[in-house]
């Protein structure tokens, strides 16, 4: 059953929610639209294409302390980081919500990553359906849609005079006040997207592991790692100790398989020394290894990587190229 609220009511509702919870929403930061905790509801951008970074950083922050080490009187205490408050992510696009669902695979599998799990448990996700597609969007080719409610708790869809409210989960239902009107009209038609030939990609990619394609493609890669940072499903991380004034923090931070030394062991052994090997790892992890372990391609079709890449390495192009390689092979 769908409900309807006016924009004014939506703002009043968010103001109420903000009294008790953290709300993470798209706001304007130095010319970019970013998910950040808000202090006032007026900061929220209701009309935006998509955020520069996905909201994965709420669950897996760019840097976070895993625990701190305290020493008193020769005794040592390890103080785990905790999640203090309930939160709401407001305004997440269906593609990014699917990104979170994909991250659940590695992070919730036993033994679960408890910080991630607690944030996940304590966060309610309010999605915002896309009424317009961007040139880089291809979510429909990746098993999602501009109006896909599958991975949010509540999905809002903007219409002329307010928002349609789809209540998806019990968690979402718990946030709603009583008395909102039912929405009885037809749902608006979602925007049409260009398609990318993703069908059969998991079996196609397997054949080209040793193809010179990867070194050729990587020739222009600057290993700047921006693809991994903007990606809603890239989750590789680094862990380091930071000593500060007698206190030590063990800190986790985002890392990327494109970094030289990503897989370099202390002994000097590195299975991936060239840019081609590292770029191949990125696409194989998304299109083959992740599907083999978690039954889903690790791409949501948000198009951020292609848009952000300074040298135009675009996963849509890679997928098309792989199909072409496969065709050429079967034709020869």
């Amino acid at each position: 059953m769908n409900l309807f609220i006016s924009k004014d009511d939506l703002i009043r509702w968010l103001e109420l929610l903000l009294r008790e919870r953290i709300i993470i929403a798209p706001i304007r930061v130095q010319g970019q639209t970013m998910f950040q905790p808000i202090s006032k509801v007026e900061e929220i951008m209701f009309d935006f294409d998509n955020t520069a970074l996905s909201s994965k950083g709420w669950f897996l922050p760019p840097t976070e302390t895993l625990f701190s080490v305290r020493r008193d009187d020769g005794q040592i205490k390890l103080m785990p980081a905790t999640v203090e408050r309930d939160a709401i992510i407001f305004g997440i696009r269906p593609c990014d919500a699917r990104g979170i669902a994909l991250m659940d695979g590695p992070f919730l599998q036993v033994p679960s990553d408890t910080l991630y799990q607690e944030r996940r448990n304590r966060t309610t996700i309010i999605g915002l359906a896309c009424r317009q597609a961007q040139p880089e969007c291809f979510c429909t080719s990746m098993g999602s849609a501009p109006d896909d409610p599958s991975h949010v708790d509540i999905l809002l869809t903007e219409v002329k005079d307010g928002y349609i409210v789809q209540v998806v989960t019990e968690k979402g239902k718990a946030l709603l006040p009583k008395g909102w009107a039912k929405y009885k009209r037809k749902m608006p038609t979602p925007p049409q997207l260009k398609t990318v030939p993703t069908k059969g990609i998991v079996s196609a990619i397997r054949e080209f592991f040793n193809d010179p394609y990867w070194e050729r493609l990587a020739d222009r890669c600057l290993h700047c790692n921006i693809c991994a940072y903007v990606c809603p499903t890239c989750y590789c991380f680094d862990v380091r100790d930071y000593p500060d004034k007698g206190k030590v923090e063990r800190v986790r931070s985002w890392e990327s398989c494109q970094s030289p030394g990503f897989s370099l062991t202390a002994g000097g052994y590195d299975p991936r020394t060239t840019k081609g090997e590292r770029l191949r790892q990125r696409f194989y992890h998304k299109l083959l290894y992740f599907p083999e372990r978690f039954q889903e391609v690790a791409c949501v079709g948000c198009g951020r990587c292609g848009k952000a890449c300074p040298v135009n390495i675009d996963i849509r192009e890679v997928i098309s190229d792989l199909h072409q390689l496969a065709e050429a092979k079967s034709g020869s």
Partner: protein, 277 residues
């Protein structure tokens, strides 16, 4: 109440630190909490992540056997910041232990067979509990041939145990070095060449091998020429690791995570990886 984070190590005390070679120390470590200590069970081939608080964490094979001696033992080669900090710890100092992680050498499955253990340098570390477990249950196995190589005589890691290994029934220890010194009367040869010379029979045999990648590569081809099948050759892979939990993706090789699917693999398994280590 928060959930218990899998990133929090057990607090442990360094009981003893013994210089084994110029750059390798044997650390004997005791978990502080008696219940954790009693419940910490592991098998030959499994590893743990050791923390030198303030420097970081790194993976090490557990080189002791459960119930033998006191505490957990690790052979740590000084090679980076964490290993240097671990080597600088003194008895009584605190360190962190997470584990045990990974799979293990399925020694029970090899019962009744001949075992060839081939190790180079610090690669002997994960093989030491294999040898000691076989010696502990000596009647369960036929011949045990140990081929241990190192750069120089003083780099042979577990020298204090050589007499015990040599004295064990149906056990042969063959040492080799890349460069000898004035006291060395043994072999000066590369491990693959020694394997070739000794030519162990593949009949009812398992070869367990660990060492530098180049040693492994050449030894594998020797073993294959001797008739060893891929499922008769077992190794343990080294990989960069940050979590040990199948999450950080640093040890990801092909679709495998060395920390969870490994580190022990047969050559048959490794040869099916899309990406070759």
């Amino acid at each position: 109440m928060g959930l218990e984070s899998p990133f929090i190590p057990y607090v442990a005390t360094l009981k003893m630190s013994t210089q084994l070679t110029p750059d390798i120390k044997l650390l004997s470590v005791e978990l502080k909490d008696p219940d954790t200590r009693a419940g910490f069970d592991y098998k030959p081939g499994q590893f743990a992540l050791l923390s030198a608080f303030g420097e970081g964490e790194a993976p090490f094979g557990i080189v002791s056997l459960p119930g033998q001696g006191d505490g957990l033992e690790f052979a740590v080669r000084r090679i980076g910041t964490v290993t240097r900090a671990l080597q600088e710890l003194e008895p009584g100092d605190i360190l962190g232990v997470r584990g045990p992680f990974g799979n293990y050498f399925p020694l029970e499955d090899y019962a009744g067979g001949n075992i060839i253990v081939i190790g180079g340098g610090i690669g002997m570390a994960p093989l030491r509990p294999v040898i000691n477990r076989i010696l502990q249950q000596r009647d369960d196995y036929q011949q045990l041939l140990i081929i241990n190589g190192a750069r120089t005589p003083q780099d042979l890691v577990f020298q204090p145990e050589f007499p015990t290994w040599r004295a064990a029934p149906r056990t042969r220890l063959e040492l080799t070095v890349d460069r000898g010194d004035e006291h060395w009367k043994g072999r000066v040869a590369l491990v693959p060449d020694v394997v070739k010379e000794l030519a162990p029979s593949p009949n009812n045999a398992i070869a367990i091998i660990c060492g530098p990648p180049i040693m492994i590569r050449f030894t594998l081809s020797v073993l294959k020429n001797l008739g060893f099948k891929d499922n008769q050759i077992v190794t343990t892979l080294e990989a960069k690791m940050k979590c040990g939990l199948g999450k950080c993706a640093r040890c990801n090789i092909g679709d495998k995570y060395v920390c969870q699917d490994g580190p022990v693999f047969t050559l048959e398994q490794v040869s099916q990886f899309l990406e070759q280590p």
